[in-house]
């Protein structure tokens, strides 16, 4: 099977986030890693490759540092990849990035399966998989927690997770796009031999022009970014310190003069 896995780099959520000019995260202060949901997708693809043979191709969009996550997938066992590296694409919204990823997939002559995480840990839009399926005119299934591929390598039986602890089972045909839910498997750890091989695996770097992507940056986006901010809670709590008598006096004073409720 020819399986494409779309991998995104996200900030490590343990990082200290700082917003610059209300517009973007200060990237100098944070560490990056592979989106956890995408790691499950890589593992699912590798398991299918082990069963049916074929190849696993990683596609990722982002700046130079993204190669680290692609090579991480290589170290797990993926075969080769495409790095879509163009600031004009990065400056666009999900539609622009998805358009570029679609062009990269088309440059491969398509694939039997396209997988990605159900969402990214940072933006949590859950859009990439479904937008790409729509652009490619393929069937898709989200929240996938189990994949069975029949011997014909075309018939897919998919379990998807629903709210309330439910699953539903669907049948569909490849080629298709699947967005993978966490817990579907246990992503393998890269091995040291895998890490050494990863360095030598093929990684094609593509610009927007190489892929023929026309929709770029803000102009090509379907949405307009306005601002980014840390929400301020409207609810305030205050712990009144001191012995019981002093604290009670302070509380009455605050209820009378600040909250004006008594």
């Amino acid at each position: 099977m020819k399986i494409v896995v779309l991998v995104k780099e996200v900030p490590d959520m343990e990082s200290k986030f700082k917003i610059i000019d209300g517009a973007k995260i200060d990237e100098s202060q944070i560490a990056f890693k592979m989106n956890d949901f995408d790691a499950y997708a890589v593992e699912a693809a590798l398991q299918l490759k082990e069963k049916f043979g074929g190849e696993v191709i990683i596609i990722s969009a982002g700046p130079d540092r993204v190669t680290k996550e692609v090579r991480q997938a290589f170290a797990m066992g993926a075969d080769w990849g495409i790095h879509v590296n163009d600031p004009q694409i990065d400056a666009g919204d999900n539609f622009v990035v998805s358009s570029a990823l679609v062009k990269a997939i088309e440059s491969l002559g398509g694939a039997d399966l396209i997988m990605t995480g159900v969402q990214s840990e940072d933006y949590q839009a859950s859009l990439t998989g479904v937008v790409i399926a729509d652009m490619l005119g393929l069937a898709h299934c989200t929240n996938v927690v189990k994949i069975d591929v029949a011997a014909d390598q075309k018939t897919l039986t998919i379990n998807r997770e629903l709210e309330g602890g439910l699953n539903e089972v669907l049948e569909m045909s490849a080629p298709a796009v699947l967005t993978i839910q966490s817990g579907i498997n246990e992503p393998r750890y890269p091995t040291l031999p895998g890490i050494m091989k990863a360095k030598k695996k093929r990684l094609d770097v593509k610009k927007a022009a190489d892929l023929g992507v026309a929709e770029l940056g803000e102009a090509g986006s379907k949405t307009k970014f306005i601002k980014m901010f840390f929400p301020v809670s409207d609810h305030k709590a205050e712990i009144i310190e001191g012995d019981a008598k002093t604290a009670a006096k302070t509380l009455v004073d605050k209820l009378k003069n600040e909250a004006k409720v008594i």
């Binding site: 343990e14 200290k16 100098s28 202060q29 890693k33 190669t67 680290k68 090579r71 991480q72 170290a75 750890y189 890269p190 091995t191 040291l192 031999p193 890490i195 050494m196 990863a198 360095k199 712990i239 310190e241 001191g242 002093t246 302070t250």
Partner: protein, 600 residues
Amino acid sequence: MAQRFVSERNLKFLLYEVFDAECLVRYPYFSDHSRDTFDMVLGTAMKLGEEILYPAFQEMDRKPPEYADGAVRVHPSVKAYMRASGEGGWINAMHPYDAGGQQLPYMVFSACGFIFCAANYSLSVYPVLTAGAAHLIETFGSEELKRAFVKNMHAGKWQGTMALTEPDAGSSLADITTTAEPADGYYRIRGQKIFISAGAHDGVENVVHLMLARIKGAPAGVKGISLFVVPQRRINDDGMLVFNDVTCAGIYHKLGYRGAPITQLAMGDNDDCRGFLVGEANRGLAYMFQMMNEARIDVGLSAAAIASAAYYAALEYAKERPQGRKATEKDPTKPQAPIIEHADVKRMLLFQRSVIEGAFSLILQLARYTDMCRVTDGAERERCELLVDLLTPIAKSYPAEMGIHAVSQGMQCLGGYGYCDEFPLEQYYRDARIHPIHEGTTGIQGMDLLGRKVVMKNGKAMALYFDEVRSTIQSASGDDALSACADELEAALKTLEDVTAHLAGIAMKGEIELFLADATLYLELFGIIAIAWQWLAQARVARKALQGNPSESDSNFYNGKLAAFRFFFAYELPRIAGLARRLRNSDGLTVAMKTEYFED
């Protein structure tokens, strides 16, 4: 927030900024590597630490190995981790490609080892012991032995151990009594061993002991000791594993480090224990010392790593625990301050950092020399080998001894909670205590340093060491912010030279007992100066980085480094004055002390 046990930022600072690990890739042996592969290896080690090792840290302590009917049942994580270590290529990571390894530099592997030990010391030891034992077979064993044992050990299927200690021969290996009688293609082994780490357990299919024994008729003392491979189960003619008459007679119940069984072994109860000679007869102790020296550096690394985990637990608590107010705040209605704002808590945290980061820096310094041994030859190789030899007792003992004090100060930050098992500090304290004891006690290390290492090759190693430290002093002298500390380190070196000359004078007079009486204090003095050297080297890099307009988080990191550096020079280095005073006084107080005076 996930429990933090190491600073990845600090590991990378030491690896790349202080010790320039990337420079190794210029040598053909390491040329397949790059910063990217090093980072990926470190990243994978962090994942293993966070996802396999740390989750079992507390449970392995609460549910220690169980012994029943000669079998030892260990925590299920042992099997999982041994498998992950074998399949991941960690057990033979530093080996050449043609031996199945990945030619990983020792520096990078040490950083990974630091992560594993900090995450869960008990669990981390299983593959480390296996790697050391397999390395002995590979280095000195016959091709037949290598074929029979090494592959399964590297795969994490078979455990390796180091079987030296006996009931009446611990530090004094010259007195071991386990015997080996020549038979048809093997030796019949009879005897007992105690304190054998991971000597029997159900996390693996087999246990392979690298065991010291005396061939019948061998000379007395250390010159009659040979090294044998003694498997718990041997391979019969049909290729099946069968009982090799090695019985686990019991396990010890320990203060800490409780996730790894320390076993008592009986060999030859049925007169059917077969051992296989490694290398030449009567050369066993020399062979074993290859493994022992590696193991001693590993002990230092582990001690610093446990202290690191304790530090981050204490730091997290200190940031979150409000208690008391600043001394200048007189209003009791004002909120309490987090305890990290109190100067005495800052002192305790700085002490921990200064010990941990200084000690780990020394470990990496030795790892760097070891890596250079692999890629150089002639005089440069000899220089690096001598420096590793000289500094091994320091790299073992300074973190082992001071790591306990560091963890203790971490516990102190938590007050009463630190003493309770709701927080991990009490476990770190118990886990840390083994390190001055195993792989050669601190007393043995002191005698090794003063009685052997300092004087070897007519003091050549010492001269090389002084050159190394003075090179760092010289490079720091031009920086106004560092020059005073550079001068202090130069004065400390002169103190060390003076004390060494004084003690050598006693040795020259043939008063050997007096010469070695305070070797432990000499080791301590030497260790403090070695750590000061490492701090000056780190401070130089931090100062330079701060001049390059770093980001806010980097700026905080480098300023933190400088604070820990200044702390070490202000609070720790002055301790050498008292030690030097005692070492210069050769009144023989302890030598003269009579046993009967200890009665009441």
